[in-house]
Symmetry: D2
Subunit: 178 residues, 4 copies
Amino acid sequence: MSKTALIIIDMINTYEHKDADLLIPSVESVVPVMADLLRRARDRGVPVIYVNDNFGEWRSHHGEQLEQALAGPRADLVEPVKPDGDSLFVLKARHSIFFETPLSYLLTEQGIDRLVLTGQVTEQCVLYSALDAHIRHFDVVVPKDAVAHIHADLAEAALRMMERNMGALIRESHQLWA
Amino acid sequence: MSKTALIIIDMINTYEHKDADLLIPSVESVVPVMADLLRRARDRGVPVIYVNDNFGEWRSHHGEQLEQALAGPRADLVEPVKPDGDSLFVLKARHSIFFETPLSYLLTEQGIDRLVLTGQVTEQCVLYSALDAHIRHFDVVVPKDAVAHIHADLAEAALRMMERNMGALIRESHQLWA
Amino acid sequence: MSKTALIIIDMINTYEHKDADLLIPSVESVVPVMADLLRRARDRGVPVIYVNDNFGEWRSHHGEQLEQALAGPRADLVEPVKPDGDSLFVLKARHSIFFETPLSYLLTEQGIDRLVLTGQVTEQCVLYSALDAHIRHFDVVVPKDAVAHIHADLAEAALRMMERNMGALIRESHQLWA
Amino acid sequence: MSKTALIIIDMINTYEHKDADLLIPSVESVVPVMADLLRRARDRGVPVIYVNDNFGEWRSHHGEQLEQALAGPRADLVEPVKPDGDSLFVLKARHSIFFETPLSYLLTEQGIDRLVLTGQVTEQCVLYSALDAHIRHFDVVVPKDAVAHIHADLAEAALRMMERNMGALIRESHQLWA
């Protein structure tokens, strides 16, 4: 039997990086959808794993990252999707959630073989993470209204690549844990 | 100073896999361009590295792969771009040229920090390899007429992703080693 | 020119695990030596990187680990070698400091090519980390009075393996940053 | 149910490297034992996987390596344990059979979770491979009369490390597939 985890990518964020202006409108539409999805996942005991860039901050940890994001100007985009006491954490240094992180080890330890990928950016980290999941034989589901993009046309191409070439299921969030 | 290698992806091929029909017309246009590029690279002593899928054949090696491809119905697509005595080889088991292969180790050993990616498929292995090169801080150049695609629109999106999000230079082959 | 980092392995510890009884006498002799070494490294601006097991705690982070260790019965073994505001952190899930961690990426980013390995356990994590450093072409120095063992005879064999087969320099702590 | 493979490390060898003189007497005693073990494994359909260093030869493949070894002065140490048509191959560039090789992928694909490690050198590649297998949760068995050493005392310490710290079973060859 398949065991699923909900993965939340790079949502602990101060939104001060390059391209944030292009990204924010998409994040604004994603946050309420993701908050609902998170609630349904938690209600059913689905493991929730936050995988977040450390933004080169090898001194800080995820607690400090969260504090910073909640103290920042766009706390409204972080508060509704923030971790609770059961959330698991993996810090990443580069784009993919798998690159030089213990995620693959954590998933295997917990018997998880199916990932629901949400967060940002559809045509970047989400695409790369879907690829790295597929290469490692994890099944991938992407709720297309729970991933945020910078460029709509590249995001659309990325979703088609995931579906056609990485065996990903592309869904609406309301279809999951309904 | 930067040192460059020419990478030839998945061109040792019998063209009997799924989607080969969609791929072959693109390969037919790429092969003569790649043959020219290969000649210019060899003339200048640029290292040429073939990275090829083993297609699950853990018994055979690259010599047998080449023999099989040259004995197949589309030897005409392999003969002009085949390895010579100086070529280096890396076998891969999955999509990316870096995933569980010694390529990164080989490149570092030889002081190579810049990759010219050619071969197939633009919106699959070439895209994934460009990403994995970028994540590892190798510079990437893609001569867009020396990469073959299955779907023209996804290939076009893949080239834009490589340029915009992975810092790749997209070029015409005649611009390289001119 | 070579750039060195001081690596502190698994010293943020509550000492409640299996074999702790055998380990503690060795740690007691190591802590004051390591505290001196740490001070000299900090005085000279040598980067100090703590690499610590997460002990399967995917919920907690290094801040919480440290609090727990400092609240435990053997805080006296943690307090003298605890991180300061400049320390860098990498969490590991398994024995080697490199296995599915971003350490290799961090070191390369910072131009570090030489590691002074300290901490515990000489014939386990220190040995494995020396091997994984050597395989990745980092130079290794082990101050033999700043590493703690469970079994003295295996520790002695481990030090000889590191010296003979992994090109490590085995030194006394007072020889470093003297 | 557990599925086992027999792993043969670095036995395709011309014995011209550093330390060969110290190694050869041990190999001479190991070869007939390993030949018997190989025969029993083949009789029972146990997968046999040769993992061999490429010795920096990125041009050649395992067929050429074998030819060279069989044409060399110590062909007598290679002939009795050479691969047959069913053998699988993985080339490695560095010490461990797992480091930047597709071995982990191959084993998982084939449902193999238990490795019988044989070959050379007990206190080097065999030890490192046992560690990397253990870290990845493969079970390890080492038939101590089918592994060759350079230094008897370090080999003995390595076997104790594998048994005590890596959960390996240390056996006599005749106990396997008896």
